[in-house]
């Protein structure tokens, strides 16, 4: 009998507290699979955000450090200076990274910090109960925008990957999605490239992962995958936005 797939030992043997169908579980798993395949699991320090993944230190089998809301990149920059040989990542949601932490992520990219950021974008605030995030789509309903987001009131959704791709210190920027098995495998390949760039100390690497929030979108998990493909991917196009070759 040949093994095709077994749950990675990078995940601790516990049941996560995430809602049924939440793609955080997929993002956690492929991140840990990448670290095991690169042989750096024991040498890695993660930085957890504020958001649903605040308790990810209970699930990820690596050393973790909690950060204040949005300040993950600042904490990771400090760890990089204290422990220059380690592999370091921050795992942040859109409420954490694109909203209150927008300053930290821009300046971490600007300084070309040698760590990797995994940005889980589900277009809504999950943990606090479905409020409008900077990435909420036009017309999308949230508890603080019950008639849907309006451009004249709240502006257009923020595209963080495109924003960071304009900064010279960010040498690798890619956007991936978790709506199909093919896209999940692509997301894993993107994380491999991001960690390779960190290991070569070329600069800041950033992977935006389009994700679902069935509970706060008010959809069954399978319909949420379709909603992601139909609504989010057209506004947040997938692909590599910047590679080291483009940076002078």
């Amino acid at each position: 009998m040949k093994t095709v797939f077994e749950y990675t030992r990078g995940m601790l043997p516990v049941t996560t507290g995430y809602c049924p169908g939440c793609t955080h579980g997929i993002a956690h798993r492929i991140l840990m699979e990448v670290l095991i395949e690169r042989g750096t699991l024991g040498e890695t320090i993660g930085v957890a955000p504020i958001g649903c993944s605040i308790l990810s230190h209970n699930y990820l089998n690596v050393d973790m450090c909690e950060s204040a809301h949005g300040r993950g990149p600042a904490v990771a920059a400090g760890i990089r200076r204290a422990l220059p040989d380690k592999t370091i990542f921050t795992y942040q949601g859109d409420g954490d990274l694109a909203s209150i932490g927008a300053g930290e992520i821009v300046h971490a990219a600007h300084r070309g910090e040698k760590f990797t950021t995994i940005f889980v974008n589900n277009a809504i605030y999950g943990m606090t109960g479905g409020q409008m995030a900077p990435t909420t789509l036009i017309g999308q309903k949230s508890t603080t925008g019950v008639d849907g987001r309006k451009k004249e009131v709240s502006g257009m959704p923020l595209r963080m990957a495109e924003l960071l791709a304009t900064i010279d210190g960010a040498v690798y920027v890619e956007r991936v999605a978790l709506d199909t098995p093919a896209h999940v495998r692509g997301a894993k390949a993107a994380m491999h490239r991001a960690f390779e760039i960190q290991e070569k100390r070329l600069g800041f690497s950033f992977v935006e992962v389009l994700s679902t929030c069935p509970t706060n979108w008010g959809l069954p998990p399978t319909a949420a995958l379709k909603w992601l493909a139909d609504n989010m991917i057209p506004y947040f196009p997938l692909g590599i936005l910047r590679t080291p070759g483009e940076v002078k």
């Binding site: 040949k2 093994t3 095709v4 797939f5 749950y7 809602c19 049924p20 998990p221």
Partner: protein, 72 residues
């Protein structure tokens, strides 16, 4: 002849989200109608394992590490 796959479930971790059900190319996964697991969810089950090709699409999409896939 196609490879014969074997799927194994850790049903007490299953939250019944059905992400695996919609990505199975052979449509052989379904949520169990009567059984409940330790968390109170109807867990995943396989209706016709003979048809499994071992592609592991279900396991790749499972957010909770319920599914392991093997081939003979």
């Amino acid at each position: 002849m196609a490879k014969k796959g074997i799927v194994k479930f850790d049903i007490d971790k299953c939250k019944g989200c059905e992400l695996c059900v919609v990505v199975c190319p052979k449509h052989i996964l379904k949520i169990h109608e009567h059984d409940v697991n330790i968390m109170g969810y109807h867990p995943i089950s396989v209706s016709d394992e003979e048809q499994c090709i071992g592609c592991a699409n279900c396991a790749v999409m499972c957010p909770d590490g319920v599914i392991s896939v093997y081939t003979e």
